[in-house]
């Protein structure tokens, strides 16, 4: 037994259901139905090819002049480490600051392997620095970059303590925390970050992680990828290709 009312009810509901299924499948529903599926904005990622870095530290110099970082060797938004793994004993690590000495260098003892590792803020997806900032002066932007608001930063330095990568410092002039922003002002203008711009060997790559065609997509496709200190679950967006286990 089916009266007209319940029949109509069933008819409409089944129509609506099948229409919804079809609409969902072929994306013919009006825009409000797909609001969630709209392509997300940019998400910046950074790639470092360790075996391309020649340790010239042009990136460090460029970063300091682009971003007004003090020239003294205690303040860095990016820096380059040099690893020497000797035949015997501990790995020796040094910080390359103003470019290598122009004299040819011969290691003092036999080495197995040696390489350079550029370092910068990892722009973590779960940034410990943002978590601990008491006043919300540091935050993640929607395109995945962690920024510092130097007008509300109180200079408590909790974020510097919380960063596992030593990527933050207290700017001696502003007395606020400072760090790599992927050259946010340059990205905004469609330019490459200063370090990527000047890198002579393409050891540094930047791109949109959401885009199907970006240098980062290729970087991720072509390399074995590692991030620094994965055990801390910070989920860095700076990815390293062909990195050595000695690097911390």
């Amino acid at each position: 037994m089916m009266d007209r009312r319940s029949f109509l009810k069933k008819l409409f509901s089944s129509l609506a259901l099948s229409g919804g299924v079809l609409g969902g499948f072929f994306r013919i529903l009006p825009a409000w139905g797909q609001a969630k599926e709209e392509p997300a904005g940019k998400l910046w990622g950074f790639g470092v090819s360790v075996d391309k870095c020649i340790g010239c530290a042009r990136c460090v110099v460029a970063c300091k002049s682009e971003n007004n970082v003090p020239k003294e060797p205690f303040f860095y938004r990016t820096w380059v480490e040099r690893y020497m793994i000797p035949k015997e004993g501990e790995a020796e690590v040094t910080n390359i600051h103003t470019g290598l000495a122009p004299e040819a260098e011969v290691p003092s003892k036999p080495i197995f392997r040696s390489f350079f590792v550029p370092k910068l803020c990892n722009q973590c997806a779960h940034p410990p620095c943002v978590q601990v900032c008491p006043v919300g002066a540091t935050f993640s932007t929607e395109d995945g970059v962690v920024l510092v608001n130097d007008r509300t930063c109180i200079g408590c330095r909790y974020c510097i303590q919380a960063c596992p990568y030593g990527a933050r410092y207290l700017h001696p002039a502003t007395h606020t925390a400072d760090k790599c922003t992927f050259c946010y002002h340059r990205l905004h203008r469609g330019l490459l970050p200063a370090c990527v711009e000047v890198c002579p060997t393409q050891a540094r790559v930047i791109g949109d992680l959401h885009s199907a065609a970006s240098p980062m997509t290729r970087f991720k496709r072509m390399n074995k990828i590692f991030v620094l200190k994965p055990n801390l679950n910070t989920e860095p967006k700076v990815l390293y290709a062909n990195i050595d286990g000695e690097v911390r």
């Binding site: 020649i54 010239c56 020497m84 040819a104 260098e105 002066a137 330019l191 711009e197």
Partner: protein
């Protein structure tokens, strides 16, 4: 209305009054006297992004250079320095693009400049062109022989050590010092043009080393082993480093 208050001791009434005045006062001040800019991080973050993106740029980016310097860019595109940004050597040039006549970027002609990247350093990737500035045409500026926008050795390197400094250095103290590179490696001519794509060969058979090191070899003065019983699974260089074979 008065009844519940009468039940409370006067001490509590007094305390509650003080607290109420304090709390209400605080709420009123926070709510009405302080502008939202000071208490809403959302507004502060938007301001920060605005401030960050408005920061001035120092490096103009390689695309900007191509607008005027077509010839140089075309020349550079063919050479080894094709991936190099103009500003890697010429320094930040935003001021130059803003006012080309007034500000001229420097062209480094000092002999100290090119060696920042090209001095021999054992940590640099294998095959990267490196020289010893002390021994390599001392006192002569680099650009007298090498055009920086299309750098080529005046002649294609005769010596493998021009690029393979680390191996040459190792080899110089080893028992194999007398061997030519070509004794063991076949080097395709293309290797000198595309060193990373076209690679020299390595010995593929045990008999190759056996020419000198097999028990029945007629070569004098080399350690001999029985190829049949000695490490049959491996090619010799998988255990012995031919550029610095063991002394024992």
């Amino acid at each position: 209305m008065k009844k519940p208050f009468q039940k409370l001791p006067e001490s509590v009434v007094r305390l509650v009054t003080v607290f109420a005045v304090f709390i209400v006062g605080t709420i009123v001040v926070v709510k009405f006297a302080i502008p939202p800019r000071f208490k809403d991080t959302k507004i502060q973050w938007a301001d920060t992004i605005k401030q960050e993106t408005a920061k001035p740029v120092q490096y103009a980016g390689a695309v900007a250079c191509a607008d005027c310097h077509e010839e140089v860019v075309a020349q550079k595109r063919k050479g080894y320095h094709r991936d190099l940004s103009c500003e890697t050597c010429h320094g930040p040039a935003k001021a130059h693009t803003d006012d080309p006549d007034k500000v001229k970027p420097p062209a480094p002609r000092d002999r100290k400049f090119c060696p920042v990247c090209h001095t021999f350093n054992p940590s640099r990737p294998r095959g990267y062109p490196m020289i010893n500035p002390v021994a390599h045409n001392p006192m002569k500026p680099c650009f007298t022989c090498h055009e920086p926008h299309d750098p080529k050795p005046p002649t294609v390197p005769r010596e493998c050590s021009a690029c393979h400094g680390e191996i040459a250095r190792t080899l110089s103290v080893s028992h194999h010092v007398q061997l030519k590179c070509t004794s063991c490696h076949t080097v395709p001519a293309q290797h000198r043009v595309s060193p990373r794509v076209i690679r020299p060969s390595k010995p593929t058979s045990r008999d190759f080393c056996g020419k000198c090191h097999a028990k029945d070899s007629t070569f004098k003065g080399s350690p001999k082993i029985d190829l049949a019983s000695h490490g049959e699974k491996y090619v010799c260089w998988q255990c012995h480093y031919p550029h610095l074979p063991e002394v024992e």
